[in-house]
Amino acid sequence: MSREGKVNRRLQRQRLRKIPWTVFMTLVYASFYIPVMVMILFSFNDAKRNYSWMGFTTHWYPKLFSFGNHDLWEALVYSLIIAVLATVISVVIGVLGGIGLKKYEFHGKKFINMMLFIPIVVPEIVMAVSMLIIFMVIGVKLGLATIVIGHCTFCIPYAVIVIKGRITGDNETLQEASMDLGATKLQTFIKVTIPSIMPGIMSAAFLSFTLSIDDVIISNMLAGASQSTLPVLILSVNRTGITPDINALTTVMVIVMLFGMAIMNVLQRIHKKREAASLAESDERIRAARLAAEEYN
């Protein structure tokens, strides 16, 4: 009995020590989630512009989906087009580059690796103005293409790093095995290299897309007089006050994102279940084979 008491005291001490931690963690997480919740809440605000809470209404949602909100949708579509283009280009170049930079030694490789670090660590405004000057001096017209190029320039380094992180010694052995079994370099690349880094490719794509769709500075500086992306539009509207329909739009985007994550989760679970089932089945077969072997002996 005395021991039980002692252990309980030790446990109690541990529990007491946990309280400040729990409070701290909750506060930090709250600081991340409260803004999101407030943003969603104010999509139901019965006011022309979001300054303070004027009462509950749902009418911003039907209004959002009516034709009155042409600007907002145009900005969103423009943002999506840019994000998709930037993601595709960045992933292709990033995947090839990640593999190539890991695999081959060539003159200037160190330099390229250093250049890849620059867009990540240098302030975005510096990236933006340096590209802006080049485009202006060469006389490139600012617009969709320049924004996509700008986005790719900071997405590619992330894609390369994610892919490089995925390639381990294992992948190289796999490639050797593939070629040993008679596959050409191209076949090996398509059938072995790419599938073995697929999770990395997915996360590189996800990262590129989220970076691009939320970017303000480069989109703002390289847009010229053309159409604004959604974040740039929000930044300019901010001067006169954000309208609740923008909150409604971003809320819809949050819901779409959560929905997408849920689907991914379900798919993963189904995949795991299937693997578990096939594992159980193979276990059964192994056991049967072992029994047969024992009987034979």
């Binding site: 021991r3 002692k6 252990v7 005291r9 030790r10 002996n297």
Partner: protein, 363 residues
């Protein structure tokens, strides 16, 4: 009997529904070299970690020097650990690593310097003070880890497979060194390993563990010569196990009827009609072309394998079972496929109870 320094009383450990250590009772004497030996997952490392304080026992009591340590945190316990992965602090050089414990205890600087130097001499690493762990070989790292633990003058040193990551030759050498060190310092060592040879060569006593239970706790020679259950017989050294029924029990000499013939063994506490297993070490077997007097069973030589110092002969009994014999030299009179007669000295074999549950019979 020497004073008990570490005592585990009815210790249990559960991980969720997993019962990894079951009602463990163990007393370790002062100055003893005790080894917890068993296959992976037998609970030996968990037991060690409970003594060190990294894990809490789910039930029972652990005492060091007669005092319960259940309420003490690892840093409050008078035991030190040598980890399998060495766990040297990578950001500190050898000197700082060894000085870590004394510095925490605020030992005066000059004293620390003297102690570290002595420890380095003890583990034969003098002159390595300024090296970083990265620049050391596996064996050197382990010496430093041992020095780092010993400088604190622990009452008990816990060693968790300390030689597991070393190559065979170095491991053999370190075994001898560790044993000498323990003798010299007179510190109690509790040593965890899955390597039976290592356990045999170093320990004063061995506790053979399986599934969270100590099957047999005894001197190495006793464990080797008198295994008390099939598992121990099988796990320690190389044994042949034959099953049969006792047909005659005179004093301690048992006559046993097996499927391959009648054999003899020696052991107390067995009755006529009892089903038993007999464990015979491979080196206790002998075979000849002619039948021997006392008893023998027929067998056919399958093949020979030269292992360097010994030759293993694989024999097939009439019931199809394979047994192995090891000899220093291959008998030139024997050849593959030959029919031979196998026998052993009854006292060189061990009868093992079968009817009772293994765990019970082994306690």
């Amino acid at each position: 009997m020497k004073k008990t320094i570490v005592a585990l009383k009815g210790v249990d450990k559960w991980y969720g529904n997993n019962h990894v250590v079951k009602n463990l009772n163990l007393e370790v004497a002062e100055g003893e070299f005790l080894t917890l030996l068993g296959p992976s997952g037998c609970g030996k490392t968990t037991t060690l970690r409970m003594i060190a304080g990294f894990e809490d026992a789910s039930a029972g009591r652990i005492e060091v020097q007669g005092e319960s340590v259940d309420e003490k945190e690892p840093y409050q316990r008078d035991v030190n650990t040598v980890f399998q992965s060495y766990s040297l602090f990578p950001h500190m050089n050898v000197f700082d690593n060894i000085a870590y414990g004394p510095r925490i205890k605020k030992v005066p600087k000059e004293q620390i310097e003297r102690d570290v130097e002595e420890m380095l001499r003890l583990v034969q690493m003098t002159g390595y003070e300024k090296r970083k762990p990265d620049a050391l070989s596996g064996g050197q790292k382990q010496r430093i880890a041992i020095a780092r633990a010993l400088i604190n003058n622990p009452r008990v040193l816990l060693l968790d497979e300390p030689l597991g990551a070393l190559d065979l030759k170095l491991r053999k050498q370190m075994q001898i060194e560790l044993k000498r060190l323990q003798r010299k310092l007179g510190i109690t060592f509790i040593y965890v390993t899955h390597d039976q040879e290592e356990a045999m060569s170093m320990s004063d006593r061995i506790a053979v563990m399986k599934d969270g239970v100590i099957l047999q706790l005894d001197k190495p020679t006793e464990i080797y010569n008198r295994p008390n259950c099939r598992f121990v017989a099988d796990f320690i050294g190389e044994s042949n196990i034959l099953s049969g029924v006792v047909t005659l029990a005179e004093d301690d000499l048992l006559t046993v009827q097996t499927q391959s013939g009648t054999v003899k063994t020696k052991g107390a506490g067995f009755e006529k009609g009892e089903e038993i297993d007999i464990s015979v070490r491979t080196e206790s077997l002998s075979c000849s072309a002619e039948p021997t007097e006392e008893f023998c069973i027929k067998a056919k030589i399958r093949d020979f394998t030269n292992m360097g110092t010994v030759t293993k002969t694989s024999l097939i009994l009439p019931d199809g079972k394979e047994i192995r014999m090891s000899t220093f030299e291959q008998d030139p009179n024997l050849s593959e496929g030959q029919e031979v007669y196998v026998s052993w000295k009854p006292e060189k074999s061990t009868p093992i109870h079968r009817d009772k549950k293994e765990a019970e019979s082994c306690q």
